[in-house]
C-alpha cells in the first residue's frame, strides 16, 4: 500500500475568506485503498480543504492532481463526475424527497429523457442493502432519523464510480451501533481500493479505522503520519499545539463528589409529555445543579430539552418555576422565566449566519428587551468584548458574519448569546458535538464554572464520559422515555448508564 502512487495529491493549497486565512500552503496526499484521517481543531482548515478538493471552493493558490492529472473542479458535480464523492458533516439532502430520489437526484436512470422510477427504486434498495439498511425507499427522507439520513448520503456517494470518498464527520450524529455499521462499510470499500478521506473529532474512531493521519493546525500542515506511529497523546498535542495540561485538568474536574443540590427546586416538572414525541416524565432541577441527560440518538433527549424551553408545546403535565405554576407555551415564556436553550442544530436553529458575531451575541438579550429598547451600542461592545475574550472566540472580530466562523466558535457565540441574558437555567443540547477537543474542554469547564456560580444546567450529550464528568444528577432516556434518574455518586459509571440504557429499567430513583 505504501508503495502505490497517490490517487490524489494537493500541493500548496491556500484559501482566504474575509477576515480569515483558512488554508496556508497545505500539502495533502491520499493513497488508494487507505482510510486517511484528516485531523485538526475547529478552524484548522479541515472543512475548507475538503471543499477545495470537492470543488465547492476554489483555492487561491495551489494545485490538485487526481490520478496523475491536474484538475480544477468548478463545482461539486464536476468533482463527483471525476470520482470524488463527498458526504458532508451536515446532511445535505432534500428531506422532502423520497429516499430513492435523494440517492439519485441529478443522475436519475433515464430512458428517452423520462426517469425510470422502478429502476431507480431497485438500485436504491440494492445500494442500501450493501449498507445493511432496510428502509422504505419511497418514504420521505425527512421521516427518518438523522443517522439514517447520513447512511443515505453515504449510499448516494458510493453509488457514483468513486475513486475518492470524502466523509466529513459522518459519525457525529450516529450512535455506537451505527458507527460500527459504517466502519464495516468503510473497510469493505477500502479493500475494494477506494481512497477514503475521513474527518472526525472522535479520537478513538481514528485509531480504530484510519491507516494514516494528516494533521492541520491554524490553516497549516503539521504533518502526515502512519497511525501506528503516532500515539493518541502525540496526535492531540500536534492538533492543539500545546501541552496537555488542559486535558489533565479535565479529569480532576469530575463532579462525583460535588454536593448534590438541595432546597427548593428551581424547575419542577411533573408528568410533562407530548404525544408521539416523548412519554410523560418528572424532572427537578435545583440552582447550581447540572443535570445530565444521557441516552442514545433518537431516545428523546432533544425532545425533553425542547419541551422544557417551550420550543415544542407539551400536551400534558405541570411545570413549576420556583414553586410558581406556569405553562411553557413558547420560548418567550421560558426566557421570561430565565431559561436559555442552545439547540443541537447550530446552523438551522442557532446562528443567524449573515449577521455579525456581535449581533448574534446580543440577539436573545435584545429580543427580551423588545425592539423599542435597543441595547445601547456601548453596552453591546462591552458585553461582546467581554464574552469574546472569556470564551476565546476566534477570530476575535465581532463584526464579521458569524457564518464565517468554525463550528466550535459558532457554538461559543451561541453560549455567549445566552450567558449575557444571565439565565437561571441553561439547556445545552449537544453543545460539544462536532467541535474539537480544545473548544470542548473550554465548554465543559465553563459549564462547571457556571454551576458553581449558581446557574442550573441541563446538559444533553451523547457522550457518556462528558455527562458523567459534569453532572450532579443524570437522567437516562430510552425509546422516548425517561427510564432512570441517578445521583452521580462514585458508583455510577459509563457501564452502569449503558446497562440502564440497554435494560430500560431505573436502578435507583432520585428522591424528588
Amino acid at each position: 500500500m505504501t508503495g502505490s502512487h497517490p490517487v490524489l495529491t494537493m500541493t500548496g493549497i491556500s484559501k482566504s475568506f474575509p477576515g480569515v486565512r483558512a488554508l496556508d500552503g497545505v500539502d495533502f496526499r491520499l493513497l488508494p485503498g487507505e482510510v486517511h484521517a484528516l485531523m485538526g481543531e475547529n478552524g484548522a482548515g479541515k472543512s475548507t480543504l475538503i471543499k477545495v478538493l470537492t470543488g465547492v471552493y476554489s483555492a487561491d493558490h495551489g494545485t490538485v492532481t487526481l490520478g496523475g492529472e491536474a484538475v480544477s473542479f468548478t463545482g461539486p458535480m464536476q468533482a463527483t463526475a471525476a470520482g470524488v464523492s463527498t458526504v458532508y458533516q451536515e446532511v445535505n439532502l432534500c428531506t422532502n424527497l423520497s429516499v430513492a430520489e435523494n440517492i439519485f437526484i441529478g443522475r436519475e436512470p433515464r430512458r428517452l429523457g423520462a426517469v425510470r422510477w422502478a429502476e431507480m427504486r431497485r438500485r436504491a434498495r440494492s445500494l442500501l442493502a450493501r449498507l445493511d439498511l432496510d428502509i422504505d425507499v419511497n418514504a420521505q427522507l425527512g421521516s427518518y432519523s438523522l443517522a439514517v439520513q447520513q447512511m443515505v448520503a453515504i449510499a448516494r456517494a458510493i453509488d457514483i464510480e468513486a475513486r475518492v470518498l470524502v466523509l466529513d464527520e459522518p459519525t457525529s450524529s450516529l450512535d455506537a451501533v451505527e458507527v460500527a455499521q459504517l466502519f464495516r462499510v468503510m473497510r469493505q470499500l477500502r479493500d475494494d481500493g477506494l481512497a477514503i478521506l475521513f474527518v472526525t473529532h472522535f479520537l478513538d474512531q481514528v485509531y480504530e479505522i484510519a491507516d494514516r493521519i494528516t494533521v492541520l493546525r491554524n490553516g497549516q500542515l503539521v504533518g502526515e503520519y502512519p497511525t501506528s506511529q503516532l500515539p493518541q497523546l502525540g496526535l492531540v498535542e500536534k492538533m492543539i499545539g500545546k501541552e496537555l495540561r488542559v486535558l489533565e485538568r479535565l479529569d480532576e474536574q469530575s463532579r462525583h463528589d460535588a454536593a448534590p443540590a438541595e432546597g427548593a427546586p428551581l424547575l419542577d416538572v411533573r408528568e410533562l409529555g407530548r404525544r408521539s414525541a416523548v412519554a410523560r416524565f418528572d424532572l427537578t432541577i435545583h440552582e447550581g445543579e447540572v443535570v445530565g441527560l444521557a441516552g442514545l440518538l433518537g431516545s428523546g433527549r432533544t425532545e425533553v430539552a425542547r419541551l422544557l424551553f417551550g420550543a415544542d408545546r407539551a400536551d400534558h403535565g405541570t411545570v413549576r418555576v420556583h414553586g410558581t405554576p406556569t405553562t411553557l407555551r413558547t420560548p418567550v415564556t421560558a426566557i421570561g422565566h430565565g431559561i436559555g436553550f442552545c439547540s443541537e442544530n447550530r446552523r438551522a436553529e442557532g446562528i443567524v449566519a449573515e449577521l455579525s458575531v456581535r449581533e448574534n451575541i446580543i440577539l436573545a438579550l435584545q429580543a427580551a428587551r423588545g425592539w423599542l429598547r435597543p441595547v445601547p451600542r456601548r453596552r453591546q461592545d462591552e458585553l461582546v468584548e467581554r464574552y469574546v475574550r472569556a470564551l476565546s472566540i476566534r477570530p476575535a472580530d465581532p463584526d464579521i458574519p458569524v457564518g464565517n466562523l468554525s463550528g466550535g466558535n459558532q457554538q461559543k457565540v451561541l453560549l455567549a448569546r445566552w450567558l449575557i441574558t444571565e439565565p437561571r437555567l441553561l439547556i445545552l443540547d449537544e453543545p460539544t458535538r462536532g467541535i474539537d477537543i480544545g473548544a470542548k474542554t473550554e465548554i465543559q469547564r465553563l459549564v462547571a464554572q457556571l454551576s458553581d456560580g449558581g446557574m442550573a444546567v441541563l446538559f444533553v450529550s451523547a457522550e457518556l464520559e462528558e455527562v458523567l464528568r459534569l453532572s450532579h444528577t443524570i437522567a437516562v432516556m430510552r425509546d422516548l422515555e425517561m427510564v432512570a434518574r441517578l445521583t452521580n455518586d462514585p458508583s455510577v459509571d459509563a457501564d452502569r448508564i449503558m446497562q440502564t440504557i440497554a435494560a430500560g429499567t431505573g436502578h435507583e430513583e432520585v428522591p424528588s
Binding site: 482566504s16 475568506f17 474575509p18 477576515g19 480569515v20 486565512r21 483558512a22 475547529n42 478552524g43 482548515g45 479541515k46 472543512s47 475548507t48 480543504l49 465547492v56 471552493y57 476554489s58 483555492a59 487561491d60 493558490h61 495551489g62 480544477s72 468548478t74 463545482g75 492541520l216 491554524n218 490553516g219 424551553f309 420550543a311 413558547t330 420560548p331 418567550v332 426566557i335 439547540s343 438551522a348 436553529e349 442557532g350 443567524v352 449566519a353 449573515e354 449577521l355 449581533e359 440577539l363 436573545a364 435584545q366 429580543a367 427580551a368 428587551r369 423588545g370 425592539w371 423599542l372 429598547r373 435597543p374 476566534r394 477570530p395 472580530d397 457564518g403 464565517n404 466562523l405 468554525s406
Partner: protein, 356 residues
C-alpha cells in the same frame, strides 16, 4: 488569523458599486444626447431641470420601495402596494370631492387621515394573513393586489374622480424652499424609516427573522409581531405614495394609479442589494435603486424612444444591472479577461463560508 484582503477590490466589490456606475452612466448618456440635461434653472423662485424632475418623480417609488424593503428583509413580499396606492388616493380624493370647499386645509388633512387609516387597516389585513394565519406572503398579498383594484374602482364608482384642491395638489407638485415638496416628503419618509429601524432594534430583529426564522424564534423573538408590523409599515408608505400620485394629476383613477409600482419597487429593493430571501437590508441601496429606475424611465422619454420599444429598452438595462451585480456572472466575466493564478471558479457563490 485575521487577514483582510480588501484593498482596491473593496470599492468594486461593494454591493452598490455597479448600480452607482449604471446611474452615473445613464446621466452621462443623457448629457451627451442633450447637453442641457444636467443644468438646473431658477424660475419663479423654484428650481427646474431634469435632475429635479427625476427626484420629484421618483418620490412615490422611493416611498413604496422603503416599505417593500422591510417586507422583503423578513423574507416576505408585498404585491398589494400598487392597489393600496390606488385605494388611499381614491379615498382621499373622494372625501375632498364631497366637500363644499375643496381648498379647505382641514378637509384635506381629514382626507389624508382617512386614506392612511384605510391603508393601515388593509396593511393589518395583509399582516394577519401572513403572520397569524401563515399564508405565503406572495399569495396573501396577491389577494389584495387583485381585490384592491376592485375596491378602488368601487370607491371612485368606476370613474376618474377629478378634484380641484390646491392644498392636496401641493403634495404632488408643490414647492418648499425652491424644491418640489415631494422630494422632502420622500426624504422625510426615508429618515423616519431609517430612524425606526436603525435607532431601535427593529432593523436587527427584521434581519434576524429574515435570516433565520427558526433561530430567531428560539432566541425569543416574537417574529409574528414583527412580520405583522412590516406589512403595516409597507401599507402606510404605499398610502403616502398614493396621495402623491393622485395629487400629481389632481384625480383618482382606480385603474391606473400605482399600476405595476409593486414590480418597480421590488426591482428597486433588489438592485439596492437586499436579497429576496430575506436578511440584511439596505435602505440607502433601495433609494439608489428607485432613483436608477426613475432615471431610466426619464431617459426613455428624453431619448424619444418609441413607446412600443421603451419597455424593452428598460428591460435590457435592468437585466444588465442585475447581471453585473451577480457575483457568479462577474466572476465568469473577470476570469475570461484576466485569468488568475489559481483555478478560479465560482459558479455559485456559497451562501455560507465555514472554514473547517
Amino acid at each position: 488569523m485575521s487577514n483582510r484582503t480588501a484593498g482596491y477590490r473593496g470599492l468594486t466589490t461593494h454591493r452598490l458599486f455597479w448600480p452607482v456606475v449604471v446611474l452615473v452612466g445613464m446621466l452621462a448618456a443623457n448629457t451627451v444626447y442633450r447637453p442641457g440635461f444636467l443644468s438646473v434653472q431658477m424660475r419663479d423662485g423654484h428650481l427646474y431641470g431634469s435632475l429635479i424632475d427625476i427626484l420629484r418623480l421618483s418620490a412615490p417609488l422611493i416611498l413604496v420601495a422603503l416599505g417593500m424593503t422591510l417586507v422583503i428583509a423578513t423574507g416576505g413580499i408585498d404585491l398589494s402596494v400598487g392597489s393600496l396606492c390606488a385605494i388611499s388616493g381614491a379615498i382621499a380624493c373622494l372625501h375632498i370631492s364631497q366637500q363644499p370647499d375643496q381648498n379647505s386645509l382641514g378637509a384635506v388633512l381629514t382626507a389624508l387621515a382617512l386614506g392612511l387609516g384605510v391603508a393601515l387597516v388593509l396593511g393589518a389585513w395583509n399582516g394577519v394573513l401572513v403572520a397569524v394565519i401563515g399564508i405565503q406572503p406572495i399569495i396573501a398579498t396577491l389577494i389584495l393586489m387583485v381585490a384592491g383594484r376592485g375596491l378602488a374602482q368601487l370607491i371612485t364608482e368606476g370613474q376618474i374622480l377629478t378634484i380641484n384642491s390646491d392644498p392636496y395638489k401641493a403634495i404632488g407638485v408643490g414647492h418648499l424652499l425652491t424644491l418640489p415638496l415631494a422630494i422632502f416628503l420622500a426624504l422625510a419618509a426615508a429618515l423616519l424609516v431609517a430612524a425606526v429601524t436603525r435607532r431601535t432594534a427593529l432593523g436587527l430583529i427584521i434581519e434576524s427573522v429574515g435570516g433565520n426564522a427558526q433561530a430567531s424564534r428560539l432566541a425569543g423573538i416574537r417574529s409574528a409581531r414583527i412580520t405583522f408590523l412590516v406589512y403595516v409599515i409597507s401599507a402606510a408608505c404605499a398610502a403616502v405614495a398614493g396621495f402623491m400620485m393622485t395629487a400629481n394629476v389632481s384625480s383618482a383613477d382606480g385603474n391606473a394609479a400605482g399600476l405595476w409600482v409593486e414590480l418597480d419597487a421590488i426591482l428597486a429593493v433588489v438592485i439596492g442589494g437586499t436579497s429576496l430571501a430575506g436578511g440584511r437590508f439596505s435602505l440607502g441601496g433601495t433609494i439608489l435603486g428607485a432613483l436608477l429606475i426613475q432615471t431610466l424611465t426619464t431617459t426613455v422619454y428624453a431619448m424619444n424612444i418609441s413607446p412600443q420599444t421603451s419597455l424593452l429598452f428598460k428591460a435590457v438595462v435592468v437585466i444588465a444591472v442585475c447581471l453585473i451585480q451577480a457575483p457568479g456572472f462577474r466572476a465568469r466575466f473577470t476570469r475570461r479577461r484576466a485569468p488568475a493564478a489559481g483555478p478560479t471558479s465560482v459558479t455559485e457563490q456559497p451562501k455560507e463560508q465555514v472554514p473547517a
